[in-house]
């Protein structure tokens, strides 16, 4: 393989990992959000390399563009960029790291031992995952999941509105008001 190609992939991969680590390590939530944006962009570039331009742009637009904006908005709203130190739960850190390491090791083991070895990715034709192709598949074979997804989004919207409604005193409604009768005696 070409040294240039290797270099590019290497840098991309490194970016992905470093931003991920940065995300979980940052004390400031805002920094974590920004690291995540970098991660998304890097992964988007990887999608491009894998011949899925539509998906890559969707990734950047939806994830980095709207979801992260939402995140940053809420972080600012709640003032959540503050630090939270001291792990109050006993053994959480140690046990967590241990289990994740075991998990990672197992996945690798599984890949090495239980699966048939995979070859390299073949060359991807130009119009492999063009929007036209994706559209064809989406609206022909995956129409139902598409519609259901619409419902999910609707449910999410309604849910979000309901959850963040103010539980305050009821404001006076417009119209005729009954006069308050004074208490006798």
């Amino acid at each position: 393989m070409d040294i240039g190609v290797l270099l590019v992939y290497g840098i991309l991969g490194l970016t992905v990992i470093v931003s991920a680590v940065g995300l979980i390590v940052s004390r400031n939530a805002l920094y974590s959000a920004l690291f995540l944006v970098v991660n998304f962009v890097a992964v988007g570039l990887l999608y491009l390399a894998l011949g899925a331009p539509f998906i890559a742009f969707a990734q950047v637009t939806v994830y980095a563009g709207s979801i992260m904006v939402l995140f940053i908005f809420v972080i600012m709203l709640l003032g959540a960029e503050n630090l939270m130190l001291d792990e109050p739960l006993r053994g959480q850190r140690a046990l967590g790291i241990l289990l994740v390491v075991i998990f990672l090791a197992e996945i690798v083991l599984y890949y090495l031992l239980r699966t048939t070895p995979l070859q390299a990715i073949p060359a991807i034709p130009q119009t492999f995952a063009s929007p036209a192709e994706i559209g064809m598949l989406l609206f022909n074979h995956y129409l139902l999941p598409f519609e259901v997804t619409a419902f999910i989004l609707l449910a999410a919207t309604v849910g979000a509105i309901l959850l963040s409604k103010h539980e305050g005193p009821t404001r006076p409604k417009p119209g005729i008001q009954k006069p308050e009768t004074p208490v006798e005696g």
């Binding site: 190609v5 992905v16 990992i17 991920a20 680590v21 995300l23 979980i24 940052s26 939530a29 974590s32 959000a33 995540l36 991660n39 998304f40 992964v43 990887l46 999608y47 894998l50 011949g51 899925a52 998906i55 969707a58 990734q59 939806v62 994830y63 979801i67 939402l70 995140f71 809420v74 709640l78 959540a80 939270m84 739960l89 959480q92 994740v100 998990f103 990672l104 690798v108 890949y111 995979l118 390299a120 990715i121 991807i124 492999f128 192709e133 994706i134 598949l137 989406l138 995956y142 999941p145 997804t149 999910i152 989004l153 999410a156 919207t157 849910g159 979000a160 509105i161 959850l163 963040s164």
Partner: protein, 99 residues
Amino acid sequence: MPMSYYLILSAAMFAIGVLGVILRRNPLVVFMSLELMFNAANLVFVAFSAYHQILDGDLFVFFVMTTAAAEVAVGLALMVAIFRAKRTIDLDEMSMLKG
């Protein structure tokens, strides 16, 4: 690039995401780690769809993205509501359902 590159990258991203979920007390960072995990899965989908030369994997990524968006919306609304009630969003303060 060989498939193992993408697979290992994805596995690493996923593991780091899990660590984030378990170790951080700020729920917003937890959600972000969750997004990281979604991303890892998406990467594998796209890689395999390129490997097998079929589009279904890409399409699934599409759906994952939309669902993730919906989930984030609801989750953040939840955070706002909780903040209103408890004036804090420290995950370790939300321990009233203990046995």
